[in-house]
């Protein structure tokens, strides 16, 4: 098992949060993992992305050129990163933010109404957790409960009051597919 994942969207969508939650979950499951963010010039509304590797073997290179699991949360990222996805890989698209279909026939597209799922529970900013739920369900990288436990354990104190809603959104994203 060696999953090379990339998460992309705009700053404020929780791109780095979903990546680091996956990495934390992998660590808690006893797997090898690395998380590498695009850093330094990130800002709300700008482009954000990160790469996460989850593997049962030691992670050799933390640098991912062609992820086999691509998650794009907005249209800009969709346009930019579509060609990066490795042939045969998954491409998860937040279809609340773009209506464009995946144009490649050598990747497996999955469309998730992530922002809509989050908004139904209360806040569009939780779309990242809806998407992560869907990713977990479809790919089976890690068990549902492992990610949920990691979410509880890593939730920053200042957003503790939003934890229950995030768990709900994660579960709804998982159930949506």
């Amino acid at each position: 098992m060696n999953h090379r994942c990339m998460f992309a969207g705009f700053g404020g969508q929780g791109i780095l949060s979903m990546g680091s939650l996956l990495a934390s979950s992998g660590m808690m499951a006893g797997l090898h993992t690395t998380f590498y963010p695009a850093y330094g010039i990130a800002m709300r509304g700008g482009n954000a992305n990160c790469t996460v590797i989850v593997s049962d073997d030691e992670v050799a290179s933390p640098v991912v050129s062609h992820p086999d699991l691509m998650v794009v949360m907005n249209e800009t990222s969709f346009d930019f990163f579509q060609s990066w996805t490795a042939p045969g890989g998954w491409m998860f698209v937040n279809s609340s933010m773009t209506e464009k279909p995946v144009e490649r026939n050598d990747v497996r597209p999955v469309y998730v109404q992530a922002t809509r799922i989050a908004t139904e529970v209360g806040d569009s900013r939780m779309a990242n957790m809806a998407m992560l739920g869907a990713v977990i369900k479809v790919t089976g990288i890690l068990p549902f409960d492992t990610v949920l436990t990691a979410m509880v354990k890593t939730c920053p104190a200042k957003i503790l009051h939003l934890l229950e809603k995030n768990k709900q959104v994660f579960a709804n994203g998982y159930a949506a597919l």
Binding site: S20, A23, S24, M27, H32, T33, T34, F35, Y36, P37, Y39, G40, I41, V59, A60, S61, P62, V63, S65
Partner: protein, 369 residues
């Protein structure tokens, strides 16, 4: 009990320094090492230790000089341009025989460059970026765990030799998060009878100084320093060898680049190409003898760096004319890709070609010397 936690490289270095008994941290912000300064700002005062955001990098390194002279475990950190500003201070630390830890999370240069990963500060780190005839141990960790472990070790080594130690990382190491076991650590702190901590019981005054105009004195100091540098060469070198025994081609790389090369090695082996890896963990002292030894059996070496070729000069000094040395480097924040390195290996081992490779419409820079 130690626990595995997911830590960013910069934070792991900070936490390791604290556990190693770092008394004083002096820094000035610069990407991509900012999280280290921020980590120390948050945690050093909690422990009643010293954190100062200095007015400049030059001030910070001189604060390190002062704190170390008083017997404290002191450190500073920066990136490329900031480390350049610290060079005078580093030379002074060596001249005054003061231990210290300096961390360089290297970014793309020259000049202000960019904030992308780079290994272009190798010469500056290993060949004396400051003035005078000096050396210092330079660690080049490849994982966050190793960055933490070597940070702890660096403080001990600095104290043992009364000489600064440099930790050389790149932006990927500083920014990425990996599971780390931060081990409990009992600081191994020697007595420092030379420190200027205040005269007690009538002992003679201590003097911390790197200046003497008296004839022959500085030469004498240098001979004494040489004995220390020779001891470091004998005792402190660290290197990792993987699959070198049967290798037809050996990759030589350090830090993050060594991890990219390790992935390439696995892919090459899966294709039946006998590729090995030599990874200097200390880039000074450099593992000349290990490389010389491997060159007895292997005729092809491929050096990969995030620069236009700096460590390759040390590989040449090791291997001399016993093997062909190929080079692939990406400067200014470029990151070598597994695909490009594998392509070069195939050209060398399978197609027996030399020169530049053009593939998939792009040129892979590849030289042979």
């Amino acid at each position: 009990m130690s626990e595995r936690v997911l830590l960013r490289g910069n934070d792991a270095i900070g936490e390791a320094a604290i556990r190693a008994g770092c008394d004083c941290y002096f820094g000035y912000p610069i990407t991509p090492q900012n999280e280290l300064t921020a980590y120390m700002a948050r945690h050093m005062p909690e422990l009643g230790r010293i954190f100062i955001q200095a007015e400049s990098e030059i001030a910070a390194i001189n604060m390190v000089y002062g704190a170390s002279a008083a017997g404290a475990r002191a450190m500073t950190s920066s990136s490329g341009p900031g480390i350049s500003l610290k060079q005078e201070g580093i030379s002074f630390l060596v001249g005054a025989e003061l231990p210290a830890l300096i961390v360089n999370i290297c970014r793309g240069g020259p000049g202000l460059g960019n904030i992308a990963p780079s290994q272009a500060d190798y010469f500056q780190a290993c060949k004396g970026g400051g003035h005078g005839d000096y050396r210092m141990v330079v660690y080049a960790p490849a994982t966050v765990q190793e960055a933490a472990d070597l940070t702890v070790k660096a403080f001990d080594v600095a104290d043992r030799y009364r000489n600064p130690v440099l930790l050389l990382g790149d932006a990927i190491l500083g920014q990425m998060m990996e599971p780390v076991e931060i081990r409990p650590y009992a600081p191994n702190r020697p007595e420092k009878p030379w420190a200027v901590g205040g005269k007690r019981q009538g002992r003679a005054p201590n003097l911390i100084n790197s200046l003497s105009l008296e004839e022959g004195v500085v030469e004498e100091w240098n001979w004494k320093f040489k004995a220390k540098f020779d001891a470091m060469r004998r005792e402190e070198g660290m290197v990792e060898k993987v699959n070198t025994e049967d290798a037809d081609l050996i990759l030589v790389a350090y830090g993050t680049t060594s991890r990219i090369c390790r992935a390439v090695m696995k892919r090459a082996r899966a294709q039946g190409l006998k590729v090995g890896l030599v990874r200097p963990v200390t880039v000074w002292p450099f593992p000349y003898a290990v490389l010389r030894e491997t060159a007895r059996k292997t005729r092809e070496f491929l050096v990969v760096e995030m620069s236009l070729g700096q460590m390759i000069e040390d590989v040449k000094l090791s291997v001399l004319d016993h093997a062909a040395i190929h080079f692939h480097g990406r400067p200014g924040g470029g990151i070598p890709t597994e695909g490009d390195i594998l392509e070069i290996i195939e050209h060398v081992l399978v197609r027996r070609r030399t020169g530049t490779v053009t593939t998939r419409g792009s040129v892979i820079d590849w030289t042979i010397s």
